[in-house]
């Protein structure tokens, strides 16, 4: 329904909207992809058609041209940090801006590399290039995880919120604490291991991999499992310990879910911890690069 009558007889026309979701990658029929491919082709043409002597480098005519284009692009690309904080549809929608950001950023691989003339060394010029490539590759990684992980994240969450995940673990901790009160010291110590030596998140590596080899809960569960198995072979197991084992296993499952969540969220976030600071470092290196070229012209 394109329009409807309002009280007072005024007809309000809704803005036409796409029904299907269109991501930033395919925005406007991949307009920016085409523009970037064209730009890259142009850069390659300039590189191939000019024949600087004795060999191509940043100081030739084509080198200065590509360098100027590249530097202006880098400055514009870094402005997305400002643009995304301003909510507006003009002059570009944020989606259009993001689309351009991604594709123009990727075309910098071609423009930047040709600007170097394939000459790299231990100097401030190559530093700029390396930082630029780190930014681009981290951004590429960001696009890949943004395309793949949200669906997995949602499936893993299974309608539970983050506080609910934590609360489930805390509840199990309280139950364990209570259930362990009548136990002897050895068994109580095992439960303490689960309560006190078990971190949900961990350090950066544990977050990225989701692997917690020293997890106290896991060790406690394995130990209690051994005791219970032994008791089962020799007769009737201690019901209190069986109860503890049941709780430890439930906690293990709750931890696994939370940690999968953390792993995917970390993977979704980590690239920005590289992309953004290295972009700033790149802008600094660009200033040093350009300034030093003309200081020692």
């Amino acid at each position: 329904m394109a329009s409807r009558s309002q009280p007072g007889g005024r007809a309000v026309t809704r803005a036409p909207r796409d029904i299907a979701h269109e991501g930033f990658l395919t925005h406007a029929r991949s307009r920016w992809l085409k523009i970037s491919l064209g730009l890259s082709a142009l850069a390659i043409a300039v590189y191939v058609l000019t024949d600087p002597a004795p060999r191509p480098n940043g100081g030739s005519f084509a080198g200065y041209l590509l360098g100027t284009i590249g530097a202006l692009m880098i400055v514009w690309l870094s402005l997305i940090g400002l643009r995304k904080r301003i909510i507006t549809t003009k002059p570009f929608s944020l989606k259009a801006w993001t689309s351009a950001h991604v594709y123009l950023g990727l075309s910098l691989i071609v423009i930047g590399t040709l600007h170097t003339g394939f000459q790299l060394g231990w100097n401030v010029h190559s530093l700029s290039y390396v930082l630029m490539m780190i930014v681009i590759i981290s951004g590429l990684y960001g696009i890949i995880v943004y395309a793949r992980l949200p669906a997995q994240l949602s499936a893993n969450r299974n309608e539970a919120t983050q506080p609910q995940m934590l609360e489930a673990i805390r509840t199990l901790d309280r139950q364990l604490d209570t259930a362990a009160q009548p136990l002897d010291k050895a068994s109580a110590d095992l439960v303490r291991m689960s309560l006190e030596e078990c971190e949900v998140s961990g350090n950066l590596w544990e977050r990225l991999t989701g692997r917690h080899p020293k997890c106290g809960n896991k060790r406690a569960r394995d130990a209690v499992q051994d005791i219970v198995s032994q008791q089962m072979r020799s007769g009737k197991p201690d019901p209190a310990l069986t109860q503890i084992l049941f709780l430890l296993e439930r906690k293990d499952a709750a931890l696994a879910q939370a940690r999968r969540h953390i792993r995917m969220k970390t993977q979704l976030e980590i690239w920005l911890y590289i992309h953004v600071p290295v972009t700033m470092a790149l802008l600094a290196a660009l200033i040093a690069h350009i300034l030093s070229v003309f200081l020692y012209w």
């Binding site: 000459q119 530093l127 040093a288 020692y296």
Partner: protein, 673 residues
Amino acid sequence: MSFVVRQISKRADGGDIIRTRTLEAPEITIGRGTDCDIQLPDLGVMLRHAKLTQLASGLVAIEATGGIPLEIAGKFLNRADLSVAETPEINIASHRLTLAPGEAPGAIAITAERVIAASDAADAAAETDIFSLRGAMPTKRTMAWALVALVFIIGLAWPLTEMIGRSPTLPADMVAAAARPANDGKGNKLTPALSAEAEAAHRGAFKPDVVWTSGPLSTAHAGLSRNCGSCHQQAFVATTDSSCVACHKPSVVPDHASAQRMAKGRLVPTGLGAAEAGIHNAFNLPEGRCASCHKEHEGPDGALMVAQSFCTDCHTGLSARLSDTKISNVSNWEDHPQFKATVVRAASATTPVFERVSLAGKASEQSGLLYPHDLHMSRTNSVANMVLKQGLPAKNGALSCNYCHTSDSDGVRFKPIEMEKACGACHDLAFAKDGPIVRTLPHGKPEQVAGIIRDFYLSQALSPRAGVQRLAFERRQPGRMAELELSGLRFASPAEARVRADAAIDSIFAKNGVCADCHVIRRTGASDAARRYEVAPVSLADHYLPKGRFPHNQHDSYDGKTGDAACVACHKGVPGSKASTDVLLPKVEQCRDCHGSPKVSTNVAASCNTCHGFHYGEGGQGGDYGPAKPKPATIAGAKAGKPGSGPALAGMPAGVASASGGAGAALARRFGG
């Protein structure tokens, strides 16, 4: 005898809940077990952890019953007697028991409370720390500032301190090395000036501004790698020629041509090229600077890697812009004009005339010498016999090229030909034997010859000595150097000796005499024998193509051939050449067989500087014997009738043949007098 137990637990909102009980017993138990008098819900506490016994009024004993020592006043004890008046504290896991005198007489108050909070108090802030990277990493902003600061310090501030505070000095031995001629004629080419050690010494300590380098310096300049200021003298001003000429003096590296002629000859760019030139000029980077061609920071060979296009930029259609130029237009190697050899047009003892002649047609020259190459390279004639008998270097009797044409010290070209060395083995000028001493006529001094012969005959007439023999130059068996005794060397009078002497002189200079083998002799008609004959002067070109370099030693083997075969592979006309007027140089097409031809697999270099040099001065000849010294061919010749004026026959080029067809027969002849 009572214990008043006050157990304090925390409420969720932070308040305390205090439960007080009074236990009438001399002994109470403490532990996690539900049967204990004081129950502590703490998994760190044993089921039966300790026992408290009242010993006397105000004195209690505490004893660990669970096997874990108790912490009392910082010590871990299994048993202790405690005075209640001192309000002792006992730590058990996360709990603390404090003893104090009770209100009732003899009663002991025990306060039990948790002093280490249970570990389940996670709040909203903890959630963010757990689920976002904020808990594991510094913030993006912190990292950004840190990296920016690091980059600015290393990449800008630190090098700037070096740039501002420096006072560069040029290494003296590098300056001295740069003052050496590019090629001193002794084979010393312009090579890296310094030893590796000296270079390392110049590099010196690390300088922070090397992070600004755009690439490694060329080998010759490597010693300046940490001396940026020696070239980059002024901020925001491109390296100027003055930096270069500080070491490379114009006397050593002369200009190609005057700046004014160079500017006039340069192609005026159009279109994009014009825009580029405009930008260059706007930034004070005009064409014609040293750095227009010599780009530094391009690796070991960088500064000397000059593109061919730099040459053809001007030499393509040069005549249209520089109408008075004598140089042919060249746009590339494929249309390089035919070689123009510098040949002798008129031989002279003092002022030979040279001329540049294109090799396109059949070029000829007038060196004044008679020398048929074909006779000397035959395998079957009398020359071949002579060569074999004397054991001269030859292949099947054909005299080797390098018997006469010996390479110079750097192997690029050839030493001047000396008559005595090159020709003397057969064309021997011995005329008499005085005991063991062989008397020889001086070569190149015809005016001396008449006197020597006359004196010889007269001395024999006035005071005849035994053992003196006159040797005949007449025909003899090849290889037989045996002297011929003349029985008739006895004279009735000095007058007769004089007549015989004149006859001998006539026969030496006669048409079929020994001189005429190689020289053109003219009779002047003078009555005095010393002035009667004039030997035509001989001038030999010693460098036919002086504007280029052709390193012969790099062509020792050619097309799978070596030795003489390699020589005649290019100098094709030599074995069949009957006259020294032939110019026996290969044409430019010969070079293209290997150089720059897409048709051959050995497609070797064919850029302009393979043969030519830029800084050779306006004559283009500086590459041979030092800088800018136009060097005409060596002059050699002798003129009869001008006493003392004739230098010895000195130079002989590759490919000079006899002008006289008939002279060949005279080779195996000696003439007598």
